[in-house]
């Protein structure tokens, strides 16, 4: 839940969405985020959590939850390393 809040804060910083952002929101259809804004959001996620997300992975992200899942995966890998 905390990660979701951090992600929605980052999304809001980029697109200033007027409503509550939910995990199941589709980035394009619900939040009207285009591919360049997705990149901006992922950059912020990378900076904030000190991880790197592959460009190929970004194109597969359709929902807010997808970003959270990828972040969890990267943070798990980081803790193992």
């Amino acid at each position: 839940m905390e990660l979701l809040n951090q992600i929605t804060t980052i999304i809001n910083r980029t697109i200033e969405w007027p409503e509550e952002i939910k995990a199941e929101d589709n980035l394009r259809d619900d939040l009207e985020i285009d591919s360049l804004d997705v990149m901006l959001i992922i950059q912020e996620v990378e900076d904030e959590f000190e991880i790197t997300i592959d460009r190929e992975d970004i194109t597969c992200m359709e929902t807010v939850q997808n970003i959270v899942d990828k972040l969890v995966q990267k943070l798990d890998l980081k803790s193992v390393a």
Binding site: T14, R28, E32, I33, D34, L36, D37, M39, L40, Q43, D47
Partner: protein, 393 residues
């Protein structure tokens, strides 16, 4: 079976045009950029082209182009590096360098090719490119084709750019890339601040001045003049097909770099040289700008202001613009095309921007009034606003 799937995959999705009952793209012009222009035997006021100074159909420019053909023919049928590099070509390079006050210039068949080809030559794998998220697709595609990492900075957000420069850990060269005048909405990049940040962090600025050259600057010299930037250490690209009224693209900068690019950019080396007619026309356009910029510019800005006032007073939601570009906020893709159709029915040619050029619900209709338009034409547009407005109610 695969062939069938391929052709099914490569079919145009024209659902938006069908829903709007109108496809505004590829209008079939039956005239040059006169006032009015002719489409399907009907007269249209041209608010669509980028003919800012209105010189594309100027008699003097046309005569210059004809003179170019008479001396050199229609083409030199070779790339510049082979036998396509004429005295005229060199003269135009020098004239453009003088105009934008940079050391040297190369001319490519288009600015799209200039921007596409530049980054794969100048950027190495350890470098980093920082680019405005609203930069033109030619810059984005060129950057994506480079071997290095790139990152976006929020549109014209200097705090974000500085933050990215501060965080930068790359060991190579950093480039900061932007457009000068953003063509959809008319915002101008704070090039003075970008230049200062680049100097501070040892980054190379790259600016595409396609909608700035011939439009802004003390005498139309573009963005560097506009911001009184002296001793620019970066790279400058621009289209010659907008205010410069012809075709082609330029890359200018320090002489040593341009000489390197002259032998490095595939898009220049392997493309047939820009033909003599537009080259000669560029020289004439530069001469006209030199003598008449203030009067042409006054008309261009006056028309833009009249349109802005007229549409704003009529209740249209207009984008705040710093350039002689007016953009109407026109809703989603279908709404944008329906409004464009209304303009079209009234004999007014405009440029609609729909998804994916802009976000789905942020359609824009762009209006650029060239200095070749008459006061009568602008008055006609202003009087037509009520008719256009009716469909929005």
């Amino acid at each position: 079976m695969k062939t069938k799937q391929f052709y099914e995959r490569c079919q145009l999705d024209d659902e938006v045009a069908r829903l709007a009952g109108f496809n505004p793209y590829y209008p079939l012009l039956g005239s040059g950029l006169d006032d009015p222009v002719v489409i399907a035997n009907h007269a249209f006021i041209d608010l669509a082209s980028n003919n800012y100074l209105g010189l594309a159909n100027d008699l003097r420019v046309k005569e210059a182009a004809i003179n170019g053909i008479e001396k050199y023919g229609v083409s030199l049928c070779a790339t510049p590096v082979a036998s396509g590099y004429s005295e005229l070509f060199k003269n135009v390079e020098e004239a453009l360098s003088d105009f934008v006050d940079l050391e040297e210039t190369i001319i490519l068949p288009s600015c799209y090719q200039a921007n596409n080809g530049l980054f794969q030559v100048i950027a190495l794998p350890d470098d980093l490119i920082l680019v405005d998220r609203d930069a033109h697709s030619s810059l984005m595609e060129g950057i994506r084709s480079a071997s290095c990492t790139f990152r976006l900075f929020r549109h014209n957000d200097m705090d974000h750019l500085q933050d990215l420069l501060n965080r930068n850990k790359c060991t190579g060269q950093v480039f900061v890339v932007t457009e000068s005048v953003f063509s959809t909405e008319g915002a101008i990049a704070p090039m003075d601040e970008i230049n200062t940040l680049c100097n501070k962090y040892g980054a190379i600025p790259v600016v595409d001045d396609s909608h700035g050259i011939g439009v802004i600057g003390k005498n139309g010299e573009g963005v560097l003049s506009h911001f009184s930037i002296k001793d620019y250490q970066g790279i400058y690209t621009a289209s010659l097909g907008k205010a410069m009224s012809t075709t082609g693209g330029m890359i200018s900068g320090k002489a040593s770099l341009i000489e390197y690019l002259r032998y490095s950019i595939s898009h220049l080396i392997y493309s047939t040289a820009l033909p003599p007619a537009p080259l000669m026309a560029v020289l004439e356009v530069l001469s006209i700008i030199d003598n008449e910029f203030s009067s042409l510019s006054e008309k261009m800005w006056r028309y833009a202001a009249q349109l802005k006032k007229g549409f704003t007073n009529a209740g249209f939601s207009m984008v705040s613009s710093e350039a002689p570009i007016n953009s109407i906020k026109s809703g989603n893709s279908v709404e944008t095309l329906i409004l464009t159709r209304k303009f079209h029915e009234l004999g007014i040619l405009t440029t609609p921007f729909i998804y994916p050029s802009v976000p789905e619900k942020e359609g824009r209709i762009r209006l650029i009034a060239g200095a070749n338009l008459s006061d009568v034409s602008i008055e006609y547009v202003l009087q037509s606003i009520t008719n256009i407005q009716n469909i929005l109610v």
